[in-house]
Symmetry: C2
Subunit: 334 residues, 2 copies
Amino acid sequence: MVTLKQLAKELNVSISTVSKALNNSEEIGEDTIKRVKELAALYNYKPNKVALSLKQNKTKTIGVIIPDILNYFLAKVLFGIEMEAALYGYNIITCISNESLEKEKESLQLLANGSVDGFILSIAQETQIKNEVAHFKKAIGQGLPIVMFDRVAHDVLCDKVIVDDFDAIYNATKLLLLEGRTKIGFISTIDDLSVGKLRERGYNKAILENSNQNPLVLRISKTEDSQFKIKAFFETNHVDGVIAADSASGVIAINTAINIGLHVPKDVSVIGFSSNYIANHSIPRLTSIRQHARDIGANAVQLLIKRLQQKNDADTDVSTRIIKTSFVKNGSTL
Amino acid sequence: MVTLKQLAKELNVSISTVSKALNNSEEIGEDTIKRVKELAALYNYKPNKVALSLKQNKTKTIGVIIPDILNYFLAKVLFGIEMEAALYGYNIITCISNESLEKEKESLQLLANGSVDGFILSIAQETQIKNEVAHFKKAIGQGLPIVMFDRVAHDVLCDKVIVDDFDAIYNATKLLLLEGRTKIGFISTIDDLSVGKLRERGYNKAILENSNQNPLVLRISKTEDSQFKIKAFFETNHVDGVIAADSASGVIAINTAINIGLHVPKDVSVIGFSSNYIANHSIPRLTSIRQHARDIGANAVQLLIKRLQQKNDADTDVSTRIIKTSFVKNGSTL
DNA sequence: GTGAAAGCGCTAACAA
DNA sequence: TTGTTAGCGCTTTCAC
């Protein structure tokens, strides 16, 4: 990489002249500016990012910590983050906590050495189970703002971007009740996450308020065979409606129902949290609650950058943005 | 963040003493080392990464440019990259080219300003179609090594990590022929990618060498309704075997076959490139060619770091690692 | 055993 | 209009 020094030497001017010329300073003569710029272009000069970061004490880099990159929703949020960040000239350093508290802490600590200006993150499963938040508060205390999305810690004071999980599932459940379903099951692989809990509560409320059945919940852990468990669930309970809390279970529920000879949606209706892509993995396609993952990512970036640009350290009040889900009617409901 | 300066002041020693003490220099007295370390620990001192990068002229950061984060395979490679990089103390800056040549160029150029020590990337679709490679060569010329994976440019001299696409599909196709299938179709949504072409060639070779049928290829573009097109393909051609080049098509083929009343695998066998996760989205599960995406990522990191550690600029010969696929027999084949 | 000073590449206040 | 200088945080050579 060419440096200012080298340009300066070749042009027989001082380093600061070159610097100012490249930054279109009023102080510098037109012809000098031109000479400098030409040579800079010739050598494809680019200001060294590291030096700039050191000088200006900010990196224009966002640390992103996500629990699981193979989760389609989280990957899509990451996509939204990257896109929006690029728009503002920010880069992102991505760490994957792999649902582990330890790795999450490490990543946070490691990047708090001046590598990033702030964080966007969704909390690891283990962290949510153990309900640890000290490491978040520490980072914030060190002057590194955090924006949490989806899985958030309510007792950490920071900007958040969340989804109307409770309402979405509440409404979806009511929709199945309106269809005349009388035995609606709830399937969750994420019952230990904040969002999983909210969704289950939405289901419970709708069922308890508007039906005579009892809540009927199937919990599946990540190590279990979901096809097998869902099949058993169908056969034991003879449900005529299914609400799935995560994206995969909805599709698997449809495929399983068909496999055991049920007709979807005649015999059983299914609604899930899902994306276009995943919903395509069953016939009929899964009627879905869409989370607008990209918007979530974009909003998180906006909140973070807004906070980074605040001159005074005086905390503006933290804000929570709720990105409304939308409902996509596909073939798996009446 | 605490700096050496602040520690030095508080301890009434010089900055260099503090620096040396923290690095366990032999020059410094034991008690001084102890005093320094205690205060550093108290203040949770961490060397400023940016300053270190500037000083040592290396960032311990890898630029990763991938075409599509929502592609399960690519996301999994990214996972492998992140994990392996973390092991070596490297961070990753992720850019998503979104299959666009322009964005790919931009990302490469942007990060070539000292932000990263080298690149790991998979080439964007548009780049492969237009067969542009100048930007890669330029980056390498600037002293930033590149490791390409999966979608690679054969006329760029750099380290590569690829998969035995041709052989894998060749063998899979032969397997269906051995089952006694006489009308085997090939479904591809990626026929303009280097890997897509290789896979199609593997299929063609197996069919031409070992059967009496002609190759029967269904190409689906990303904007088309794959369920619809696959259904039409089945109904028109009455295939009794399907080889899918990408991960989603295999699962959709199974679901479609079942939907139109075929039995899988009695009436039709299906094999696809796929992961555990995606294969779970059909009943029976998709018999799959596994690409070991995490290994691919890990190997890419190893190659890059090896090259970064070479003292002399004298190019060691570039190497290409082939990560062998493995075959997972599930319910969609006999 | 400890400290002063230079330098990584850059910007900006100040001098000329 | 251009140049000198200091300084961001750190390591390291060279004096003391």
